[in-house]
């Protein structure tokens, strides 16, 4: 740990710690929302360790709780997680080999990738990737489990506005992308499609229907 600290410097380490703290708080809301949606504690606890990709887990819980099929919910979650494919393509060799590669692959997430890409050279990219990846690996399941425990004790979680946290988290993550005009227009169109189809389509499908808005982008670029 000390060598990671020396490689990265104070400011970056503080940013990573703050990010992990945010992940912990979001994990709290995730666990609390899951038990409020009638899932037993082990569902968010196991999901948070094994999937380790917040948006897809929220989506899974949301679709299943709304009466959707769990396999369809998993498919929707996987679609959201396809963004990890370009992540893997964009990252330099940060994980190493053998068991490090196995674990390093699992801790690839929005936060660890962002911090790694922001560093100027490979040793610092590697240190940032691992520091943030391992931090999230501890904070996300820790938060989810604590949240599930709190949620089981506190019954009226909506009084605390926890249900507003999830969309806020996702919005916070995509705002940098939305500064691109074309992406913003397509995203707004997609959101509109999802909202319009919500009263008619089964749970989970409105979000997928939003993908039609990708056509706006293909036309624009050709």
């Amino acid at each position: 740990m000390r060598s990671i600290g020396r490689t990265l410097g104070r400011a970056t380490l503080r940013d990573i710690a703050l990010t992990c703290l945010a992940v912990f708080v979001i994990g709290l809301s995730y666990g609390a929302i899951a038990v409020a949606s009638k899932f037993p504690l082990w569902v968010p606890a196991a999901q948070s360790v094994l999937v380790l990709a917040g948006a897809s887990e929220f989506l899974f819980i949301g679709i299943v709780a709304a009466g959707g099929n769990p396999i369809a919910a998993a498919a929707a979650g996987l679609l959201v997680n396809t963004r990890h494919l370009p992540y893997g393509l964009a990252l330099p060799e940060v994980t190493g080999r053998g068991w490090r590669r196995l674990l390093g692959t699992h801790v690839m997430n929005d936060e660890s990738v962002v911090f790694a890409l922001a560093q100027p050279d490979l040793p610092r990219k590697r240190a940032a990737y691992w520091a943030c990846g391992l931090g999230v690996l501890i904070c996300w399941p820790g938060g989810a489990t604590a949240g599930a425990l709190i949620g089981s004790a506190v019954h009226n979680t909506s009084a605390f506005g926890l249900d507003a946290m999830f969309p806020a988290v996702i919005l916070g993550l995509i705002v940098p992308d939305l500064r691109n005009r074309g992406t913003l227009r397509a995203a707004l169109a997609g959101a509109a499609i999802a909202l319009i189809t919500t009263p008619f389509l089964p749970a989970g499908l409105p979000v997928l229907a939003a993908l039609v808005a990708v056509l706006l982008l293909t036309r624009e670029q050709t």
Binding site: A55, R83, L89
Partner: protein, 107 residues
Amino acid sequence: MKDTTLVVAGMATLAAGTYVIRLSGQALRARITFPPRASKLLEAAAVILLAALVATTALTQGHGFAGLARPAGVLVAGVLAWRRAPFLVVVIAAAAVTALLRLAGVH
């Protein structure tokens, strides 16, 4: 929870599939170069999906409207995020605004 076996199968699918996605990007990196347009479109598709997720989770509950308190909280969070407020502030503001509105009787 309705059907435990089916839910576990869904969880396993999501976990295993996500791991394979994470692995394949790295494995492909050495072998192929994605056309930049394709990876840009893939990225944009993820953003569209997530934006739709924001809209539906902020505004709807089941097949109907979720009430005013939640979208108001999310709107405040969106404005803060756009003005580059720290992530934690954005998230806590959403919960706080929603909770305060509900306390004031707005649902």
